[in-house]
């Protein structure tokens, strides 16, 4: 990763776009292009080949999910392109579409509100650029609240760990958050993977993806 991460930003509201540019610049990102519509985003990303694409979901021309569609299209062209999309509200379908795009890694789905938590937001951007996956805690919570029989087998602590795992956190970060040792977290993760019948793997992102894919899958068919 180069010292300066090059970003293409798409947000149709001018004030917020300028705010995001200020934020990114302050934290040593280089904003190659800041645009206000989905077609412009496609063009800018193709021209600048950035290290990260940050886009709003609802944008011109249709003001529906144009931003998300553009992001998915870009990842089809460049499967490893890190993309973070911002959504005004929780929509699990959007997170799923994003995770299904490209190689399923280096994607982030966040509520727009998270922008206000400046440092956490920047951490998330860095995590995704660095190869991680970030799903908004609200989306994860919604997914976890669905009673799926396999999940019923998990203890409360294991659910907690799974939720943090889904946010793309490392074992160390989870341990710090829950005030337990890293080894304990490792044990929980092992148990979770076992109970959910997932093969153990060292790759955190694969685990997150596997978990999310599993949660997303309709148990009925």
């Amino acid at each position: 990763m180069s010292p300066l991460t090059r970003v293409v930003l798409a947000e149709d509201e001018v004030l917020l776009r300028e705010g995001l540019v200020a934020l990114l610049t302050r934290f040593d990102f280089t904003v190659c292009a800041a645009v206000g519509s989905a077609p412009e985003l496609l063009e800018a990303a193709r021209t600048h080949q950035p290290d990260l694409v940050l886009t709003d979901i609802r944008m011109p021309p249709l003001r529906r999910d144009d931003g998300l569609r553009a992001a998915v299209a870009l990842r089809a062209e460049r499967p490893g392109l890190p993309v973070v999309v911002l959504s005004q509200f929780v929509q699990t379908g959007y997170a799923a579409a994003l995770l299904d795009s490209g190689d399923g890694q280096r994607v982030g789905y966040l509520l727009k509100d998270r922008v206000a938590e400046v440092t956490e937001f920047v951490d998330t951007l860095r995590r995704v650029t660095g190869g991680g996956t970030a799903i908004d805690p609200d989306v994860v919570r919604q997914l976890l609240h669905r009673p799926r029989d396999p999940l019923a087998a998990l203890s409360a602590r294991e659910r907690e760990v799974l939720a943090l795992l889904a946010e793309g956190r490392s074992n160390a970060s989870i341990a710090a958050r829950l005030h337990v040792t890293e080894a304990a977290v490792g044990k929980h993760v092992g148990n979770i993977l076992l109970k959910l019948d997932l093969p153990p793997s060292d790759d955190t992102n694969r685990r997150v993806l596997a978990v999310l894919t599993y949660l997303r899958a309709d148990p009925v068919g």
Binding site: G19, Q88, G93, D113, V118
Partner: protein, 453 residues
């Protein structure tokens, strides 16, 4: 149009003199003839004259109608008598005349009755201060369809057929009384006067004359009763009830109103989403950035932190507000996608089958969305179900939404499980809600929403 009566008109006396006190005024100033009959001074009031004017003015109208009815109905008599005597109709020509006449009569009666009814409504005011709302010409086809028309036609036949008979009977009584009163003067002539039996002398006639004079007020009351009865029937027959066409128009207007309301919601949601929300996010972001540059021990640090927190709280609040106005998932994903999102968020496993192609009216989309939302939250709250199913399909011109679960059933709109509110919402979109929920389950909510614009 239905007239909106002023208060004074309703009370009847308000228009005649300013209302000072309601108590005791009604019998002094009755609103119509029948009510006035109870007054002690009725005979010396204006009411007998008004009643008489009503009866007299009836005569030309009723006469014309009677003549018309007789011309058309006259052949009926020989036809019936020949039928009874010989068992066959008299002549083809007569039958043809009778049938043609009847057809023309029935065909023209709705038009003729419109004119007569208008005159009669106006004439009733002679004996009735309460206004009768007039009805405008509804168009030829509608005139033949409405129930009010056929009441007016029935009134026409009554006026031409029955009223003259009653008048004749009354006229005979009046003539009899006139004969009794004038008998002393007439008795002296060559021809004897016959009341019950021949009266040959003036002396014999005097008691008759006395009885005749005493009967005069009775006749006056007779005029009053006859006019009051006729006016009451006219009023009953000529008051146009709120008919089906008017009700349909009210329903259509309500649907239009709900549609306009829906468009307005959508506009507000869009304005908030595209205008207010990103600006607030931007403001919160700027506050967050400012916090980074203000040292912890600076006096500005605390107020800045408070402002940042408040802005964040406001962001959450605004998001919930916008969602309540019109779900954004509906705008972004369409009905099927938005329903899938609802199913995803539901605490029980929900299967969605959506078979809906093409555009749906906005009101139908939103109503269907809230139906599924409310039904699924009912499932979660009350049904103790493990799974539910949502089906969206097009049946003819309708969108059919079915939500079923494997819970314990027994859902009862009376127990306020949100079903009543749901039914109201559905009714506003001109649709209907059907519920099957036997105790022990399963529960099925079916909603049919018409999609024609």
């Amino acid at each position: 149009m239905l007239g909106i009566p002023r208060k004074g008109d309703l009370d009847g006396w308000g228009g005649l003199r300013p209302a000072i006190s309601v108590c005791g005024m009604t019998s002094e100033h009755p609103s119509h003839l029948a009510a006035s009959l109870r007054r002690r001074d009725w005979l010396i009031s204006a009411w007998p004259w008004r009643a008489l004017a009503y009866l007299v003015s009836t005569v030309p109208i009723a006469s014309v109608l009677t003549v018309g009815l007789l011309v058309i109905g006259a052949p009926l008599l020989p036809v019936l008598s020949t039928l009874r005597r010989e068992g066959r109709p008299p002549s083809i020509a007569l039958m043809l005349f009778l049938i043609t006449g009847s057809v023309i009569l029935v065909g023209l009666a709705p038009i003729l009755s419109f004119v007569v009814a208008a005159v009669e409504r106006w004439r009733v005011r002679l004996v009735d201060n309460r206004p009768l709302p007039s009805s405008p010409w509804p168009g030829l086809a509608a005139r033949y369809r409405s129930a009010a028309t056929w009441r007016e036609v029935a009134y026409l036949f009554w006026l031409g057929g029955f009223v003259p008979v009653a008048y004749w009977v009354f006229l005979v009584l009046v003539l009899l009384d006139v004969g009794m009163v004038t008998s002393p003067w007439l008795a002296g002539d060559a021809e004897p006067v016959v009341i019950w039996r021949p009266i040959e002398s003036t002396g014999e006639a005097v008691p008759y004359a006395i009885v005749g004079v005493l009967l005069l007020p009775v006749l006056c009351y007779g005029v009053g009763l006859l006019a009051a009865g006729q006016a009451a029937i006219a009023r009953w027959a000529l008051t146009s009830p709120v008919d089906a066409a008017a009700l349909r128009e009210v329903a259509r207007s309500r649907t239009r109103l709900v549609g306009a309301y829906e468009a307005e919601r959508r506009r507000i949601e869009r304005d908030l989403h595209d205008g207010a929300q990103p600006r607030l996010t931007s403001l919160t972001l700027q506050l967050g950035l400012a916090r980074l540059d203000v040292p912890e021990d600076s006096p500005a640090a605390r107020p800045l932190a408070v402002a940042h927190d408040q802005a964040r709280g406001l962001m959450v609040m605004l998001r919930q507000l916008v969602h309540g106005i019109r779900p954004q998932s509906l705008t972004d994903l369409g009905l099927a996608g938005a329903v899938r999102e609802l199913a995803d968020a539901a605490p029980v496993a929900v299967t969605v089958h959506a078979d809906i192609d093409g555009e749906l009216p906005e009101i139908v989309e939103t109503t269907a969305y809230f139906v599924v939302s409310e039904a699924l939250s009912n499932v979660a709250r009350h049904a103790a179900a493990t799974r539910a199913e949502v089906r969206l399909s097009r049946v003819g011109g309708d969108l059919v939404v079915e939500v079923s679960d494997d819970g314990r059933g027994g859902a009862d709109p009376a127990r306020g499980t949100g079903l009543t509110g749901l039914a109201d919402r559905v009714a506003a979109a001109d649709g209907r809600l059907l519920l099957s929920s036997p105790p022990g389950g399963p529960t099925l909510v079916r909603v049919e929403l018409p999609c024609r614009r």
